[in-house]
Symmetry: C2
Subunit: 153 residues, 2 copies
C-alpha cells in the first residue's frame, strides 16, 4: 500500500513489515513475501516456534512446507534467527535480538514441548577441557509450564 521510500538504516516510523523487509535486504537477499511474513512472525512471537506452529500462524497466507523450511534455514544462516531442538526433538525458531547473542536462558516444558525465553542472568563462563571452543552459553530449565502443570499430572 504505502510506498516504501526508505532505503536503509533505522527508521522509527516504519511498520513491522517494512522493518522485516529491510532486515532481509540488508542481509543481501530478496525481500519476498515468504521471508517477510516469517521474519515478522518470529519477531513478534513470545516463545520459540516450531515449523508446524509457524504454518498454523500464517493461516491462509501459508507457504509451501519446503519453502518454509528453506526460509527458516536462510534466516538461521544469516543470523536473523536462532534454531534449537526442543525436548521432543523438533526444531524451534526465534528471532535473534541484539541483546541476546552469546548467553541465554530457556524454560523447556516436558509436557507440551514449548520453549520460553527468560530474562535471567546468564551464568559465568566455566572452564572447558583442553581444545574445546565455546560459542554460546545457555541455561536450560526443564519442567512443566503453567498450562501443563495446571492440567493433568
Amino acid at each position: 500500500m504505502k510506498p516504501a521510500l526508505i532505503r536503509n538504516g533505522e527508521q522509527p516510523g516504519e511498520s513491522e513489515t517494512e522493518r522485516a523487509a529491510r532486515l532481509i535486504r540488508c542481509a543481501g537477499a530478496r525481500a519476498t513475501p515468504a521471508r517477510v511474513r516469517v521474519l515478522r512472525l518470529l519477531r513478534s512471537a513470545p516463545t520459540a516456534l516450531s515449523h508446524h506452529e509457524i504454518e498454523q500462524s500464517l493461516g491462509d497466507l501459508a507457504l509451501d512446507r519446503v519453502t518454509l523450511y528453506r526460509v527458516l534455514d536462510w534466516l538461521v544462516a544469516t543470523g536473523l534467527a536462532h534454531r534449537n531442538a526442543d525436548t521432543r526433538r523438533t526444531f524451534r525458531f526465534s528471532a535473534a535480538s541484539s541483546s541476546e547473542h552469546s548467553a541465554h536462558t530457556h524454560f523447556r516444558c516436558d509436557g507440551c514441548g514449548r520453549v520460553f525465553c527468560l530474562d535471567a542472568a546468564p551464568p559465568p563462563p566455566p572452564k572447558l577441557p583442553e581444545g574445546f571452543l565455546l560459542s554460546r552459553i545457555e541455561l536450560d530449565l526443564r519442567g512443566r509450564c503453567a498450562q501443563c502443570a495446571g492440567s493433568a499430572q
Copy 2:
C-alpha cells in the same frame, strides 16, 4: 558363567555386568541380555550416546532396532538413564549417576553433535514465571569439541 549368588545391595566384588543386572532387577524388571548390555555400555561411556552409536558399539551382540529403542525408553522411564535431544535433533542417552540428579552441565558440539558431561558447578536456581514447575536445571555449553575445532574451521 559365574553364578550370581548375590541378591541385592552394593557388592564391591561384582562385575560391571552383574551390577547392571542387579540395577535392572531392583527396578522391577527382568534382567535380559538386551537390557544388561545396554545399561553396561551406557555406564561405561564418557559421553551421551545416540541410538546409532549404541548399535555400533554393541557390534555382533547388536539387538533389533526397535528392541533397542524400547530398552532405552525403559531405562529412561525408570530413571536409570537420561535422554536429551542434541543439536542435530537426535536423542542421546546417558546413564544416571547418583551425584547428578537435578542439575547438570553439558557441552554440545555443533560440529559432530556429541554431548559431553562436564563436572561444572551447577548454577543457582532462578525465579520462574507464576505457575511454572521446575524439575531440572541444565547448563548447556555450545561450540566445537577438541576434535572438531582441530579439523575443518
